[in-house]
Protein backbone atom coordinates (compact mmCIF):
# COMPACT_ATOMS: atom_id res chain seq x y z
CA UNK A 1 0.00 0.00 0.00
CA UNK A 2 0.97 3.58 -0.45
CA UNK A 3 0.95 5.84 2.60
CA UNK A 4 -1.37 8.58 3.79
CA UNK A 5 -0.56 12.20 4.51
CA UNK A 6 -2.62 14.06 7.14
CA UNK A 7 -3.54 17.40 5.58
CA UNK A 8 -4.01 20.08 8.30
CA UNK A 9 -7.39 20.89 6.71
CA UNK A 10 -8.67 17.58 5.39
CA UNK A 11 -7.14 14.93 7.63
CA UNK A 12 -5.41 11.76 6.37
CA UNK A 13 -5.61 11.43 2.59
CA UNK A 14 -3.80 9.14 0.09
CA UNK A 15 -0.38 10.43 -0.95
CA UNK A 16 -1.49 10.49 -4.60
CA UNK A 17 -3.63 13.58 -3.84
CA UNK A 18 -0.51 15.57 -2.93
CA UNK A 19 2.63 16.89 -4.50
CA UNK A 20 5.83 17.66 -2.64
CA UNK A 21 8.77 19.89 -3.43
CA UNK A 22 10.99 17.98 -1.07
CA UNK A 23 12.98 18.87 2.01
CA UNK A 24 12.90 22.35 3.51
CA UNK A 25 16.20 24.08 2.73
CA UNK A 26 17.75 26.99 4.52
CA UNK A 27 17.67 29.98 2.18
CA UNK A 28 20.95 31.81 1.65
CA UNK A 29 21.30 35.31 3.06
CA UNK A 30 20.89 38.57 1.12
CA UNK A 31 23.55 38.45 -1.59
CA UNK A 32 24.91 34.94 -1.70
CA UNK A 33 27.98 33.94 -3.69
CA UNK A 34 27.35 31.79 -6.75
CA UNK A 35 28.65 28.82 -4.76
CA UNK A 36 26.21 29.37 -1.89
CA UNK A 37 23.33 29.98 -4.24
CA UNK A 38 24.12 26.85 -6.28
CA UNK A 39 24.40 24.89 -3.08
CA UNK A 40 20.95 26.04 -2.07
CA UNK A 41 19.46 25.24 -5.47
CA UNK A 42 20.99 21.83 -6.15
CA UNK A 43 22.28 20.16 -3.00
CA UNK A 44 20.17 18.06 -0.64
CA UNK A 45 20.56 16.53 2.78
CA UNK A 46 18.57 13.56 1.48
CA UNK A 47 18.14 12.24 5.00
CA UNK A 48 17.58 8.57 5.62
CA UNK A 49 15.28 9.23 8.54
CA UNK A 50 13.02 12.11 9.53
CA UNK A 51 13.07 15.26 7.41
CA UNK A 52 10.83 18.30 7.15
CA UNK A 53 9.26 18.73 3.70
CA UNK A 54 6.95 21.01 1.78
CA UNK A 55 3.68 19.38 0.74
CA UNK A 56 0.78 20.71 -1.30
CA UNK A 57 -2.74 19.25 -1.27
CA UNK A 58 -3.08 19.52 -5.02
CA UNK A 59 -6.19 17.42 -5.60
CA UNK A 60 -7.87 18.66 -2.45
CA UNK A 61 -7.94 21.94 -0.54
CA UNK A 62 -4.78 23.30 -2.27
CA UNK A 63 -3.02 24.05 1.01
CA UNK A 64 0.77 24.29 1.27
CA UNK A 65 2.03 22.86 4.56
CA UNK A 66 5.02 21.27 6.26
CA UNK A 67 5.37 17.59 7.10
CA UNK A 68 7.91 15.72 9.20
CA UNK A 69 8.26 12.41 7.39
CA UNK A 70 10.53 9.43 7.97
CA UNK A 71 12.05 8.49 4.59
CA UNK A 72 12.93 5.10 6.02
CA UNK A 73 9.34 3.87 6.19
CA UNK A 74 7.39 6.89 4.82
CA UNK A 75 5.56 7.47 8.10
CA UNK A 76 4.36 11.07 8.45
CA UNK A 77 4.95 12.08 12.07
CA UNK A 78 3.48 15.55 12.02
CA UNK A 79 2.02 18.12 9.65
CA UNK A 80 1.59 21.83 10.35
CA UNK A 81 1.31 25.26 8.80
CA UNK A 82 4.59 27.09 8.24
CA UNK A 83 5.54 29.96 10.53
CA UNK A 84 7.85 32.71 9.40
CA UNK A 85 9.53 32.82 12.80
CA UNK A 86 11.10 29.41 12.17
CA UNK A 87 12.57 30.66 8.93
CA UNK A 88 10.35 28.30 7.03
CA UNK A 89 9.39 30.77 4.33
Amino acid sequence: MTFQVPCPNCGPRPVEEFTTTGEVRERPVESPSRRDLSHYIYFRRNARGVQTEWWYHRFGCELWFLADRDTHDNRVLETRLPTSSRGEW
Partner: protein, 404 residues
Protein backbone atom coordinates in the same frame (compact mmCIF):
# COMPACT_ATOMS: atom_id res chain seq x y z
CA UNK B 1 30.89 -36.66 -17.09
CA UNK B 2 30.28 -36.42 -13.35
CA UNK B 3 32.39 -33.30 -13.45
CA UNK B 4 29.68 -31.22 -15.06
CA UNK B 5 27.54 -31.59 -11.95
CA UNK B 6 30.27 -30.53 -9.60
CA UNK B 7 29.50 -27.44 -7.57
CA UNK B 8 31.79 -24.61 -8.55
CA UNK B 9 32.15 -21.30 -6.76
CA UNK B 10 32.03 -18.39 -9.15
CA UNK B 11 34.08 -16.27 -6.77
CA UNK B 12 35.83 -16.87 -3.48
CA UNK B 13 34.21 -15.95 -0.17
CA UNK B 14 37.15 -14.60 1.81
CA UNK B 15 36.61 -15.13 5.53
CA UNK B 16 38.49 -12.13 6.78
CA UNK B 17 39.28 -8.61 5.69
CA UNK B 18 42.92 -7.65 5.29
CA UNK B 19 44.30 -4.75 7.34
CA UNK B 20 44.78 -2.61 4.28
CA UNK B 21 44.07 -2.39 0.56
CA UNK B 22 45.32 -0.12 -2.21
CA UNK B 23 41.71 0.78 -2.94
CA UNK B 24 38.31 0.01 -1.41
CA UNK B 25 35.19 -0.04 -3.56
CA UNK B 26 31.94 0.37 -1.61
CA UNK B 27 28.88 -1.27 -3.18
CA UNK B 28 28.72 -4.63 -4.94
CA UNK B 29 26.50 -3.60 -7.81
CA UNK B 30 27.42 -3.56 -11.47
CA UNK B 31 29.39 -0.33 -11.07
CA UNK B 32 31.49 -1.38 -8.08
CA UNK B 33 32.28 -4.80 -9.53
CA UNK B 34 33.10 -3.41 -12.97
CA UNK B 35 35.45 -0.89 -11.36
CA UNK B 36 37.27 -3.65 -9.47
CA UNK B 37 37.54 -5.71 -12.66
CA UNK B 38 39.01 -2.92 -14.81
CA UNK B 39 41.38 -1.85 -12.01
CA UNK B 40 42.91 -5.31 -12.23
CA UNK B 41 42.54 -5.90 -15.97
CA UNK B 42 43.65 -2.49 -17.28
CA UNK B 43 45.94 -1.25 -14.52
CA UNK B 44 47.22 -4.34 -12.72
CA UNK B 45 45.75 -3.07 -9.44
CA UNK B 46 44.64 -6.24 -7.68
CA UNK B 47 45.00 -5.27 -4.02
CA UNK B 48 41.40 -4.10 -4.08
CA UNK B 49 38.25 -5.13 -2.25
CA UNK B 50 34.57 -4.63 -2.95
CA UNK B 51 32.48 -4.25 0.20
CA UNK B 52 28.80 -5.08 -0.11
CA UNK B 53 26.43 -4.78 2.83
CA UNK B 54 24.07 -7.43 1.50
CA UNK B 55 24.61 -9.81 -1.43
CA UNK B 56 26.06 -8.61 -4.73
CA UNK B 57 23.39 -7.36 -7.12
CA UNK B 58 20.96 -6.76 -4.25
CA UNK B 59 20.69 -3.08 -5.18
CA UNK B 60 19.35 -1.60 -8.40
CA UNK B 61 21.72 -3.77 -10.46
CA UNK B 62 19.57 -6.81 -9.75
CA UNK B 63 16.25 -5.00 -10.05
CA UNK B 64 16.39 -2.96 -13.22
CA UNK B 65 14.54 -3.41 -16.49
CA UNK B 66 17.86 -4.07 -18.31
CA UNK B 67 17.48 -1.59 -21.16
CA UNK B 68 20.74 -0.67 -22.86
CA UNK B 69 20.84 2.29 -25.26
CA UNK B 70 22.89 5.36 -26.17
CA UNK B 71 20.38 7.74 -27.79
CA UNK B 72 20.93 10.54 -25.28
CA UNK B 73 20.26 14.21 -25.87
CA UNK B 74 23.49 15.99 -24.90
CA UNK B 75 26.81 15.53 -26.73
CA UNK B 76 28.46 14.72 -23.36
CA UNK B 77 25.90 12.00 -22.65
CA UNK B 78 25.70 10.58 -26.17
CA UNK B 79 29.44 9.90 -26.56
CA UNK B 80 29.69 8.50 -23.05
CA UNK B 81 26.79 6.02 -23.39
CA UNK B 82 27.85 5.13 -26.93
CA UNK B 83 31.17 3.88 -25.61
CA UNK B 84 29.33 1.87 -22.95
CA UNK B 85 27.10 0.12 -25.49
CA UNK B 86 30.19 -0.75 -27.55
CA UNK B 87 31.79 -2.29 -24.47
CA UNK B 88 28.62 -4.26 -23.76
CA UNK B 89 28.71 -5.62 -27.33
CA UNK B 90 32.07 -7.30 -26.59
CA UNK B 91 31.44 -8.16 -22.96
CA UNK B 92 30.11 -11.74 -23.25
CA UNK B 93 33.31 -12.61 -25.13
CA UNK B 94 35.60 -10.68 -22.84
CA UNK B 95 34.19 -12.12 -19.60
CA UNK B 96 33.39 -15.54 -21.08
CA UNK B 97 29.84 -15.41 -19.74
CA UNK B 98 26.62 -15.40 -21.76
CA UNK B 99 25.07 -12.06 -20.87
CA UNK B 100 22.18 -12.60 -23.32
CA UNK B 101 22.55 -9.11 -24.77
CA UNK B 102 19.81 -8.83 -27.40
CA UNK B 103 20.05 -5.71 -29.54
CA UNK B 104 16.43 -5.86 -30.58
CA UNK B 105 16.09 -2.13 -31.18
CA UNK B 106 14.49 0.62 -29.14
CA UNK B 107 11.49 2.81 -29.98
CA UNK B 108 10.65 6.02 -28.11
CA UNK B 109 7.12 6.88 -29.17
CA UNK B 110 6.05 10.45 -29.83
CA UNK B 111 2.42 11.36 -29.19
CA UNK B 112 2.63 15.12 -29.79
CA UNK B 113 4.25 17.63 -32.14
CA UNK B 114 6.42 18.77 -29.29
CA UNK B 115 7.67 15.22 -28.75
CA UNK B 116 8.38 14.84 -32.50
CA UNK B 117 10.58 17.93 -32.34
CA UNK B 118 12.47 16.57 -29.33
CA UNK B 119 12.98 13.22 -31.09
CA UNK B 120 14.23 14.98 -34.23
CA UNK B 121 16.71 16.91 -32.15
CA UNK B 122 17.92 13.79 -30.38
CA UNK B 123 18.33 12.00 -33.72
CA UNK B 124 20.52 14.89 -34.98
CA UNK B 125 22.77 14.84 -31.91
CA UNK B 126 23.01 11.04 -32.03
CA UNK B 127 23.93 10.98 -35.72
CA UNK B 128 26.68 13.54 -35.16
CA UNK B 129 28.29 11.04 -32.83
CA UNK B 130 27.78 8.09 -35.16
CA UNK B 131 24.92 6.63 -33.12
CA UNK B 132 22.24 4.90 -35.18
CA UNK B 133 19.13 6.85 -34.36
CA UNK B 134 16.40 8.28 -36.57
CA UNK B 135 12.87 9.59 -36.65
CA UNK B 136 10.28 7.19 -38.04
CA UNK B 137 6.52 7.41 -38.70
CA UNK B 138 3.49 5.30 -37.69
CA UNK B 139 3.77 2.97 -40.72
CA UNK B 140 7.38 2.18 -39.82
CA UNK B 141 6.37 1.63 -36.20
CA UNK B 142 3.76 -0.84 -37.40
CA UNK B 143 6.38 -2.63 -39.53
CA UNK B 144 8.73 -3.01 -36.59
CA UNK B 145 5.99 -3.93 -34.17
CA UNK B 146 2.87 -5.27 -35.91
CA UNK B 147 1.04 -5.86 -32.61
CA UNK B 148 1.04 -2.24 -31.42
CA UNK B 149 -2.09 -0.11 -31.71
CA UNK B 150 -1.25 2.77 -34.09
CA UNK B 151 -4.85 3.82 -34.71
CA UNK B 152 -5.78 7.47 -34.36
CA UNK B 153 -8.95 7.08 -32.27
CA UNK B 154 -7.09 6.59 -28.99
CA UNK B 155 -6.18 8.99 -26.19
CA UNK B 156 -2.58 9.36 -27.33
CA UNK B 157 -2.21 8.48 -31.03
CA UNK B 158 1.33 7.58 -32.11
CA UNK B 159 2.70 10.30 -34.41
CA UNK B 160 6.12 8.75 -34.83
CA UNK B 161 9.07 7.47 -32.89
CA UNK B 162 12.79 7.76 -32.34
CA UNK B 163 14.22 4.47 -33.58
CA UNK B 164 17.52 3.37 -32.09
CA UNK B 165 18.69 0.09 -33.63
CA UNK B 166 21.55 -0.83 -31.28
CA UNK B 167 19.31 -0.54 -28.19
CA UNK B 168 18.19 -3.69 -26.44
CA UNK B 169 17.97 -5.75 -23.30
CA UNK B 170 20.44 -7.88 -21.35
CA UNK B 171 20.45 -10.30 -18.43
CA UNK B 172 21.29 -8.05 -15.48
CA UNK B 173 22.20 -10.79 -12.96
CA UNK B 174 24.64 -12.24 -15.45
CA UNK B 175 26.40 -8.88 -15.81
CA UNK B 176 26.84 -8.67 -12.04
CA UNK B 177 28.04 -12.25 -11.72
CA UNK B 178 30.36 -12.04 -14.73
CA UNK B 179 32.13 -8.93 -13.43
CA UNK B 180 32.35 -10.48 -9.96
CA UNK B 181 33.87 -13.70 -11.27
CA UNK B 182 36.34 -11.88 -13.52
CA UNK B 183 37.42 -9.43 -10.80
CA UNK B 184 37.82 -12.29 -8.32
CA UNK B 185 39.91 -14.36 -10.74
CA UNK B 186 42.30 -11.45 -11.19
CA UNK B 187 42.74 -11.14 -7.44
CA UNK B 188 40.22 -8.59 -6.18
CA UNK B 189 38.33 -9.63 -3.04
CA UNK B 190 34.55 -9.50 -2.81
CA UNK B 191 33.17 -9.25 0.70
CA UNK B 192 29.42 -9.69 1.00
CA UNK B 193 27.49 -8.97 4.20
CA UNK B 194 30.06 -6.28 4.89
CA UNK B 195 28.57 -2.89 5.64
CA UNK B 196 30.66 0.25 5.70
CA UNK B 197 29.76 2.15 8.87
CA UNK B 198 32.37 4.91 8.82
CA UNK B 199 35.13 6.43 6.71
CA UNK B 200 38.26 7.82 8.32
CA UNK B 201 39.55 11.20 7.15
CA UNK B 202 42.58 13.04 8.43
CA UNK B 203 43.86 16.38 7.08
CA UNK B 204 41.36 16.22 4.25
CA UNK B 205 42.48 12.77 3.03
CA UNK B 206 40.91 9.35 3.34
CA UNK B 207 42.73 7.08 5.79
CA UNK B 208 40.48 4.01 5.99
CA UNK B 209 37.00 2.59 6.41
CA UNK B 210 35.16 0.97 9.30
CA UNK B 211 32.84 -1.95 8.71
CA UNK B 212 30.72 -4.34 10.74
CA UNK B 213 33.58 -6.82 10.25
CA UNK B 214 36.48 -4.61 11.28
CA UNK B 215 38.55 -1.70 10.02
CA UNK B 216 40.69 -1.32 6.93
CA UNK B 217 43.41 1.16 6.07
CA UNK B 218 43.33 2.66 2.59
CA UNK B 219 43.86 6.00 0.89
CA UNK B 220 41.31 5.51 -1.88
CA UNK B 221 37.60 4.83 -1.49
CA UNK B 222 35.17 4.67 -4.40
CA UNK B 223 31.55 5.21 -3.42
CA UNK B 224 29.46 3.03 -5.79
CA UNK B 225 26.36 2.78 -3.62
CA UNK B 226 23.84 4.46 -5.96
CA UNK B 227 20.66 5.10 -3.91
CA UNK B 228 22.64 5.03 -0.66
CA UNK B 229 25.36 7.44 -1.91
CA UNK B 230 24.33 10.24 0.41
CA UNK B 231 24.64 8.04 3.50
CA UNK B 232 28.29 7.31 2.66
CA UNK B 233 29.15 10.85 1.55
CA UNK B 234 27.76 12.02 4.91
CA UNK B 235 30.50 10.01 6.62
CA UNK B 236 33.12 12.31 5.09
CA UNK B 237 30.92 15.44 5.07
CA UNK B 238 30.77 15.71 1.29
CA UNK B 239 27.45 17.21 0.19
CA UNK B 240 25.70 15.74 -2.84
CA UNK B 241 22.89 17.12 -5.03
CA UNK B 242 21.11 13.77 -4.80
CA UNK B 243 17.66 12.77 -3.70
CA UNK B 244 16.77 9.13 -3.23
CA UNK B 245 13.56 7.53 -4.39
CA UNK B 246 12.25 4.20 -5.62
CA UNK B 247 11.56 3.04 -9.13
CA UNK B 248 9.14 0.18 -9.61
CA UNK B 249 8.65 -2.53 -12.20
CA UNK B 250 6.51 -5.60 -12.77
CA UNK B 251 6.29 -8.61 -15.05
CA UNK B 252 3.30 -10.42 -16.49
CA UNK B 253 3.00 -14.18 -16.77
CA UNK B 254 4.94 -15.49 -19.79
CA UNK B 255 3.11 -15.43 -23.10
CA UNK B 256 3.99 -16.37 -26.67
CA UNK B 257 6.73 -14.08 -28.03
CA UNK B 258 5.27 -11.23 -30.08
CA UNK B 259 7.28 -8.15 -29.13
CA UNK B 260 10.89 -7.98 -30.24
CA UNK B 261 11.65 -4.30 -29.77
CA UNK B 262 11.78 -2.11 -26.65
CA UNK B 263 8.84 0.31 -26.47
CA UNK B 264 8.91 3.57 -24.52
CA UNK B 265 6.22 6.22 -24.22
CA UNK B 266 7.24 9.32 -22.34
CA UNK B 267 3.77 10.77 -22.71
CA UNK B 268 2.27 7.83 -20.84
CA UNK B 269 5.26 7.36 -18.54
CA UNK B 270 5.64 3.71 -19.33
CA UNK B 271 8.06 1.38 -21.06
CA UNK B 272 8.10 -2.31 -21.81
CA UNK B 273 9.89 -5.21 -23.43
CA UNK B 274 9.26 -8.93 -23.69
CA UNK B 275 11.91 -11.02 -21.99
CA UNK B 276 13.42 -14.23 -23.36
CA UNK B 277 11.10 -16.08 -20.98
CA UNK B 278 8.06 -14.44 -22.58
CA UNK B 279 7.17 -12.18 -19.67
CA UNK B 280 6.24 -8.58 -20.39
CA UNK B 281 8.60 -6.44 -18.32
CA UNK B 282 7.07 -3.05 -17.54
CA UNK B 283 8.43 0.02 -15.80
CA UNK B 284 7.39 3.60 -15.22
CA UNK B 285 8.74 6.55 -13.26
CA UNK B 286 10.26 7.16 -9.83
CA UNK B 287 7.91 7.98 -7.01
CA UNK B 288 7.66 11.76 -6.65
CA UNK B 289 8.84 11.87 -3.00
CA UNK B 290 12.15 10.82 -1.47
CA UNK B 291 12.27 7.44 0.20
CA UNK B 292 14.65 4.65 1.11
CA UNK B 293 11.81 2.16 1.59
CA UNK B 294 11.62 -0.66 -0.96
CA UNK B 295 7.86 -0.97 -0.88
CA UNK B 296 5.78 -1.27 -4.02
CA UNK B 297 2.52 0.56 -4.56
CA UNK B 298 -0.82 -0.34 -6.09
CA UNK B 299 -1.31 2.97 -7.97
CA UNK B 300 1.90 2.24 -9.90
CA UNK B 301 0.58 -1.14 -10.98
CA UNK B 302 -2.79 0.27 -11.98
CA UNK B 303 -1.54 3.23 -13.97
CA UNK B 304 1.22 1.41 -15.83
CA UNK B 305 -1.07 -1.50 -16.65
CA UNK B 306 -3.64 0.95 -17.99
CA UNK B 307 -1.08 2.66 -20.20
CA UNK B 308 0.33 -0.58 -21.52
CA UNK B 309 -3.19 -1.61 -22.53
CA UNK B 310 -3.52 1.58 -24.60
CA UNK B 311 -0.61 0.31 -26.68
CA UNK B 312 -1.28 -3.43 -26.48
CA UNK B 313 -5.00 -4.08 -25.81
CA UNK B 314 -4.41 -7.80 -26.42
CA UNK B 315 -2.60 -8.05 -23.07
CA UNK B 316 -5.78 -7.28 -21.12
CA UNK B 317 -6.29 -10.90 -20.00
CA UNK B 318 -2.68 -11.28 -18.91
CA UNK B 319 -1.91 -11.87 -15.22
CA UNK B 320 0.65 -9.93 -13.23
CA UNK B 321 3.32 -12.28 -11.94
CA UNK B 322 5.36 -10.09 -9.59
CA UNK B 323 6.18 -6.49 -8.76
CA UNK B 324 9.27 -4.98 -7.14
CA UNK B 325 11.16 -1.76 -6.49
CA UNK B 326 14.74 -0.51 -6.46
CA UNK B 327 16.40 2.46 -4.81
CA UNK B 328 17.63 5.22 -7.12
CA UNK B 329 19.96 8.21 -6.70
CA UNK B 330 18.29 11.05 -8.60
CA UNK B 331 20.50 13.90 -9.84
CA UNK B 332 19.16 17.36 -10.70
CA UNK B 333 20.11 17.18 -14.40
CA UNK B 334 19.54 13.45 -15.06
CA UNK B 335 23.27 13.06 -15.68
CA UNK B 336 25.69 11.14 -13.46
CA UNK B 337 28.12 12.60 -10.95
CA UNK B 338 31.55 11.03 -11.16
CA UNK B 339 35.03 11.77 -9.97
CA UNK B 340 37.00 13.35 -7.17
CA UNK B 341 35.63 15.39 -4.31
CA UNK B 342 37.07 17.92 -1.88
CA UNK B 343 38.16 15.00 0.33
CA UNK B 344 41.28 13.54 -1.24
CA UNK B 345 40.86 9.86 -2.04
CA UNK B 346 37.06 9.91 -1.74
CA UNK B 347 35.66 9.32 -5.23
CA UNK B 348 31.98 9.40 -6.10
CA UNK B 349 29.97 7.56 -8.71
CA UNK B 350 26.34 8.51 -8.27
CA UNK B 351 23.41 10.34 -9.80
CA UNK B 352 22.62 7.18 -11.79
CA UNK B 353 18.97 7.56 -11.03
CA UNK B 354 16.93 5.25 -13.15
CA UNK B 355 19.35 4.80 -16.06
CA UNK B 356 22.72 3.63 -14.74
CA UNK B 357 22.79 -0.03 -15.65
CA UNK B 358 23.66 0.66 -19.27
CA UNK B 359 26.69 2.61 -18.10
CA UNK B 360 28.32 -0.06 -15.93
CA UNK B 361 31.15 -0.96 -18.37
CA UNK B 362 32.19 2.60 -19.17
CA UNK B 363 31.88 3.59 -15.51
CA UNK B 364 34.20 0.73 -14.58
CA UNK B 365 36.72 1.69 -17.26
CA UNK B 366 36.79 5.41 -16.46
CA UNK B 367 36.70 5.09 -12.67
CA UNK B 368 39.51 2.53 -12.75
CA UNK B 369 41.55 4.92 -14.90
CA UNK B 370 40.86 7.75 -12.47
CA UNK B 371 41.87 5.66 -9.46
CA UNK B 372 45.01 4.33 -11.12
CA UNK B 373 46.24 7.54 -12.77
CA UNK B 374 44.62 10.24 -10.59
CA UNK B 375 43.67 11.99 -13.83
CA UNK B 376 40.05 12.48 -14.85
CA UNK B 377 39.37 10.78 -18.22
CA UNK B 378 37.91 13.11 -20.89
CA UNK B 379 34.70 11.12 -21.13
CA UNK B 380 33.74 11.88 -17.53
CA UNK B 381 35.15 15.39 -17.25
CA UNK B 382 31.67 16.93 -17.82
CA UNK B 383 30.20 14.87 -14.98
CA UNK B 384 32.24 16.25 -12.09
CA UNK B 385 30.46 17.13 -8.86
CA UNK B 386 31.91 20.62 -9.18
CA UNK B 387 29.54 21.41 -12.08
CA UNK B 388 26.71 22.05 -9.64
CA UNK B 389 28.69 24.63 -7.71
CA UNK B 390 29.41 26.33 -11.03
CA UNK B 391 25.75 26.06 -12.07
CA UNK B 392 26.63 24.09 -15.22
CA UNK B 393 24.21 21.16 -15.43
CA UNK B 394 24.29 18.64 -18.31
CA UNK B 395 20.56 18.30 -18.87
CA UNK B 396 19.35 14.89 -20.00
CA UNK B 397 15.77 15.57 -18.98
CA UNK B 398 14.51 15.04 -22.53
CA UNK B 399 16.22 11.67 -22.87
CA UNK B 400 16.06 10.23 -19.38
CA UNK B 401 12.90 11.45 -17.71
CA UNK B 402 11.19 8.19 -18.54
CA UNK B 403 13.17 5.97 -16.36
CA UNK B 404 15.32 3.35 -18.06
Amino acid sequence: MKDIFRKRRMWRAPTRLKDSYDAVVIGGGSHGLATAYYLAEHHGMTDVCVLEKSYIGSGASGRNTTIIRSNYRTPEGARFYKRSVELYEQLSQELDFNLMFSQIGHLTLAHSDRAMITMAERAEVNQLFGIESRLIYPDDVKDLCPEIDVSSDVTWPILGALYHEPGGIIRHDAVVWAYARAADRLGAEIHQNTEVTGIGVSNGRVTGVQTNRGSIECDTVVNCTAGWSTTLADMVSVDLPIWTSILQAFVTEPVKPFLDVVIVSSQMHVYLSQTDRGEFLIGAEVEPYSTYSNRGTLPFLESSARHVLELFPQLSGCKVLRQWTGICDMSPDYSPIMGMTEVEGFLVDCGWGTYGFKAAPIVGVTLAELVATRKTPDLIEPFKLERFYADRPVSELAAAAVSH
